[in-house]
């Protein structure tokens, strides 16, 4: 092979050589494309501007300061007198709320759906498959319409709202509390027992509770059968001795059963015997605690109403306790985790840490609430300032909401929804449009996420599961430590796409007139004539949303990538 001469060449040769250099050609190509792009864009922009300017509609951002003049439903802090940008902010807020609730809801339901699609239960698996196929193969717009007109608008009218919990008095039998205590004690006390003894004890406790419940049911509903037996406590009653004899026979019979069943059957026999005796001697009380319930949630065709949580003047003081509690809990948690690493013994670090937070929050609440409120306050009445006792002022409705929060004794006031005629005087309302759009987006996106989760779990090779099982990891350890980290690696990139889809699909809000950013800016554009600017603002808004979602998901994705050669 001949080596190219490096000797000087004449100028022409050099120029020809330079123009055939691949690096030079690439640079020229880029430059030509850039020039063409700039030309096309400036021409387009100029023609848009000139045609709009001819109608006195030069694109600008000044118009955002102008009075909006249109109503937006469900936005309490906005009025038609506010400027366009205030309307825009309401739209952004509504979109953000739909998207954030939608992302969380779709993820949770999607993961559940994915697990159901892989269930070994034939019915669960196939019903889920059927639902997913319907959702994936019908247009989202149709689903939003159905959700709005068929589901949400067919909810009961205002005056027969669904209430949760239903207003009224709920009796809680005292014996339920005894059961709860017994179950907790048995659960802890039998931990060190042999497994078969432990399961016999558990079966016995279950039999005891069942026996007592059956007796009580008969006692209350069929008094003719067992009415006279509750608390009879007579040692001479022949029925007592018959019962004892039958129970003894069951216990003796248990001895002849195969060893696997013997202990459990004996446990059940002893349990039901004790249960029957407890009833016969009237040990368990028939009384019930009466708990008065007030509705907290309302649901009707005008929306869903929640209680409002309002922070009072004392909130910041209480909040310090909570922050200190979280700090202490974090320290305790880290200390206990270190402890586990050093000794290998697992400990209940999460419950303990949560208990610390709860303790400080409750303690702080009690301390903060124990400070007295002023006996009397100053109010403006008929042009003069008078001192009125606080209680009286409250009764006479002299306090505004701000005053209430200032003079409140507790850090957070819970304002329950209160119905007044055809509206709610208090409480936080979610509009039917919001409910329909968010629900439809959640369910539609969840169907796709379910498929992604299913594929991700299936993508973990069978050998990984076998290796985990061969090492003796439990089923939950296998899922947590081997399957999930590897499945997430496959799940996250397509999941990001679905999240972006959900954010962009939220613009279908316009179909049911939900005031999201697109619906609002559409109105703004029509009304002000600044349609080009409005559309640019809408596009930039969605771009920002998408970039934020992508950035977060890329960061998450980076954490699950595998290191390879």
């Amino acid at each position: 092979m001949r080596i190219a001469p490096s000797s000087p060449r004449n100028l022409l040769q050099q120029i020809v050589g330079f123009t055939s250099d691949i690096r030079f050609l690439r640079a020229v190509g880029q430059l030509v494309f850039l020039v063409l792009l700039v030309l096309v864009l400036t021409q387009t922009w100029n023609s848009i501007v000139s045609s709009l300017s001819a109608r006195n509609l030069t694109p600008n951002f000044q118009f955002l300061q102008d009075r909006a003049g249109f109503e937006i439903g469900g936005a309490g802090d906005y009025s038609p007198d506010d400027p366009y940008y205030a309307a825009f902010m309401v739209g952004v807020r509504n979109t953000l709320m739909t998207v954030s609730v939608g992302l969380v809801g779709a993820t949770v339901i999607g993961i559940l759906g994915g697990v159901f699609l892989l269930s070994t239960n034939w019915l669960v698996r196939n019903i889920t498959r059927f639902i997913v196929e319907i959702l994936r193969n019908t247009p989202l717009l149709v689903q939003i319409y159905v959700m709005f007109f068929v589901v949400v608008l067919s909810l009961p009218a205002m005056r027969d709202s669904l209430q949760l919990p239903a207003e009224g008095i709920m009796p809680i039998p005292v014996r339920y509390l005894v059961y709860l205590l017994a179950v907790m004690v048995v659960w802890r006390a039998t931990r060190s027992y042999r497994p078969e003894v432990r399961s016999a004890v558990k079966a016995g406790l279950l039999a005891l509770m069942l026996m007592v419940e059956v007796c009580f049911w008969l006692y209350f509903n069929r008094p003719d059968v067992l009415g006279s037996l509750y608390g009879a406590a007579s040692m001479t009653d022949s029925r007592l001795w018959i019962y004892l004899a039958i129970s003894a026979a069951v216990l003796v019979g248990a001895l002849f059963l195969p060893s696997a069943l013997r202990l459990t059957v004996a446990g059940v026999g002893v349990g039901q015997l004790i249960g029957g005796l407890l009833f016969y001697f009237g040990v368990l009380p028939t009384s019930a605690l009466r708990v008065e319930l007030q509705p907290v949630f309302f649901l009707n065709n005008r929306g869903m109403v929640f209680p409002e949580l309002l922070t009072t003047a004392r909130f910041s003081e209480w909040f310090i306790y909570v922050v200190v509690g979280i700090g202490l809990a974090l320290m305790l948690f880290l200390y206990l985790r270190k402890q586990t690493e050093q000794t290998g013994q697992p400990n209940a670090r999460l419950p303990l840490a949560l208990a610390v937070v709860a303790t400080l929050a409750i303690l702080g609440w009690m301390i903060v609430s124990s400070e007295p409120v002023p006996e009397s306050i100053l109010v403006q009445q008929d042009g003069q300032t008078v001192s009125v006792p606080l209680e009286e002022a409250r009764e006479q409705d002299l306090l505004s909401l701000e005053d209430e929060l200032f003079y409140s004794q507790v850090p957070v006031e819970v304002v329950l929804p209160r119905q007044q005629g055809l509206r709610f005087a208090s409480g936080y309302t979610l509009t039917p449009e919001f409910l329909a759009l968010t629900l439809a987006l959640i369910i539609y996106t969840a169907a796709f996420i379910a498929e992604i989760v299913r594929a991700g779990i299936l993508a973990v090779p069978q050998g990984q599961l076998e290796a985990a099982r061969a090492l003796g990891l439990s089923y939950s350890q296998m899922l947590r430590m081997v399957v999930l980290p590897q499945a997430l690696r496959v799940i996250i990139p397509p999941l990001t796409n679905q999240f972006l889809n959900l954010a962009k699909n939220s613009s279908l809000a316009i179909a049911i007139s939900f005031a999201d950013v697109y619906q609002v800016m559409n109105t703004v554009g029509n009304q002000s004539g600044q349609s080009v600017t409005s559309i640019i603002i809408v596009m930039l808004t969605y771009l920002v949303f998408s970039l934020i979602i992508s950035a977060v998901m890329n960061w998450v994705n980076g954490r699950f990538q595998l290191v390879t050669r």
Binding site: E341, Q342, G463, L471, G472, S474, M481, Q486, L562, T564
Partner: protein, 245 residues
């Protein structure tokens, strides 16, 4: 012999659908014994050793390991798996964990050892299999011969009484096979009870106390390596040996 067998199989039968994959397999394995299982592909030898830690479920017969019978009782299965280490054909290292994390995962979470103890054990084992410098790498960064050695270290970290090997060298270059077989030889000499499915006849001849020959789900012939390789009795064994030697 006064010692009790550590693995007892009595007339084990297993079907995959219609296919009768294990037929009346009965074997006892003594503690510290090295048993090599050979046979043509599809003869059920892998299925057999996978039954011993219940990665496969046998349908008839009895398998008793270390005095615990394998049944549908999850507590028995968990107890058995703690005592049996296994090395797979594809090694099945966890790709999202470092070599050290691969080895310490089970001791820390199943045996509840402290992190320090588990890591000390892991480094000791990596030393033993000859790759102490790879502790902080990920499986994807290891060479083909290093992966099975990590898999062996991972299984040994649980301090098992029995080790199962399912064709640990069949996915390797000839050069790397020796590295892995050397580790296995050392392990056999240290007194570990081993059940090895392999096509490495040299290894079987040198290390095995006993050779089992599987065909069509049956143990056709078994005996010492000398007997097996020098004077095979069954025609099927003779045919097999004539084809591979």
């Amino acid at each position: 012999m006064t010692r009790e067998p550590i693995i007892i199989c009595r007339s084990v039968n297993k079907w995959f659908g219609e296919f009768h994959v294990l037929r009346d397999v009965s074997v006892d394995v003594m503690p510290q014994e090295v048993v090599v299982v050979i046979g043509p592909s599809g003869s059920g030898k892998s299925t057999f050793i996978r039954c011993i830690n219940r990665l496969e479920v046998h349908q008839e017969g009895q398998i008793i390991v270390d005095d615990i019978e394998l049944s549908h009782d999850v507590r028995n299965i968990a107890a058995i798996r703690r005592e049996i280490g296994m090395v797979f054909q594809q090694f099945n290292l966890f790709p999202h964990l470092t070599v050290l994390q691969n080895i310490t995962l089970a001791p820390m979470n199943v045996r509840h050892w402290s992190k320090d103890k588990a890591e000390e054990k892991a480094r000791e084992l990596l030393d033993r299999v000859g790759i102490p410098e790879q502790a902080d790498k990920y499986p994807g960064q290891l060479s083909g011969g290093q992966q099975p050695r990590v898999a062996i270290a991972r299984a040994l970290a649980m301090e098992p009484k029995i080790m199962l090997f399912d064709e640990p060298t069949s996915a390797l270059d000839p050069e790397m096979i020796k590295e892995v077989l050397d580790v296995m030889k050392e392990l056999a000499q240290s007194g570990m009870t081993m059940l090895v499915v392999t096509h490495e006849m040299g290894f079987a001849r040198e290390v095995a106390d006993r050779v089992l020959f599987f065909d069509m789900g049956r143990i056709v012939e078994q005996g010492t390596p000398e007997h097996f390789f020098e004077n095979p009795e069954h025609p099927r064994t003779k045919l097999f040996l004539s084809q591979i030697l």
